[in-house]
Amino acid sequence: MGGIVTRYLLIESRDPFGSTDYVRRCELAAALRADGADVTLFLVENAVLGTRAAARPQALEKLAKQGVQVLADEFALRERGIGSGEIAPAVKPTDLAALVGLLAAGARATWN
């Protein structure tokens, strides 16, 4: 029996190394996913500083393994000099049109 899957869009803008809010948001994404929701974590502004494959902790890799879609604003990546070759495999660079698409599709969105 298939129910309606709720779609969540968590937009994160904070530096993962400067705020525990980032970790809490990752926990929220994991919890929503475990509850059966379709979850996208969209990183903008300084939140993309956590996308480097060498970054610790590797929260984004864990989220991807749990089925959370992790997207990062490619404009923010370019601004911060983060090249495509150094981004964690779990992270997909994209433009804001993707975020607009998720909003237009009715995802429940919050911005942090």
């Binding site: 804001l96 049109a97 607009v100 698409g101 909003l103 237009a104 009715g106 995802a107």
Partner: protein, 137 residues
């Protein structure tokens, strides 16, 4: 391609301070370019985005003249978004919270912005397929 759908946005940050302002404008621009209308409610410090007395300036530190610096002014961005919406044939509405405007004496607004109240935001949210609140910190 365009359709009758709209997204609603609530902005709170004053201009010239936060990355959120530029990201919000990029997001609204992307919305209009996707053929989707945008309804924006500017609240608290964000009402100053529309003030027409903003002046671009030269940059003496970098040795750049006024034209070379091309300093952005948010009120010009609002008008540019309105132009883009007209070009794409999609709705665009920018409403400043009137009480917030009065608090700040920020009543010289861009022609693309109109005065309203939080009731307008409620209406915008009701008439849009989704709403994104971009809160201040």
């Amino acid at each position: 391609m365009n359709d009758s759908r709209c997204l609603a946005f609530l902005l709170m940050d004053a201009p010239f301070e936060q990355a959120r302002t530029a990201t919000a404008f990029r997001l609204i621009d992307a919305t209009l370019r996707a053929g989707i209308g945008a309804r924006v409610f500017a609240y608290e410090g964000a009402v100053s985005l529309a003030v027409t007395r903003q002046k671009p300036h030269a940059n003496a530190i970098h040795g750049r003249a006024l034209e070379e610096e091309a300093h952005p002014t948010p009120h010009a961005w609002i008008n540019a978004l309105a132009d883009l919406a007209r070009e794409r044939g999609v709705p665009f509405d920018w409403v400043n919270c009137g009480l917030c405007v009065d608090e700040r004496g920020a009543d010289e607004a861009a022609p693309s912005a109109r005065r309203g109240s939080p009731a307008d935001f409620w209406k915008m949210a009701q008439e849009s397929v989704n709403t994104l609140v971009i809160p201040t910190r």
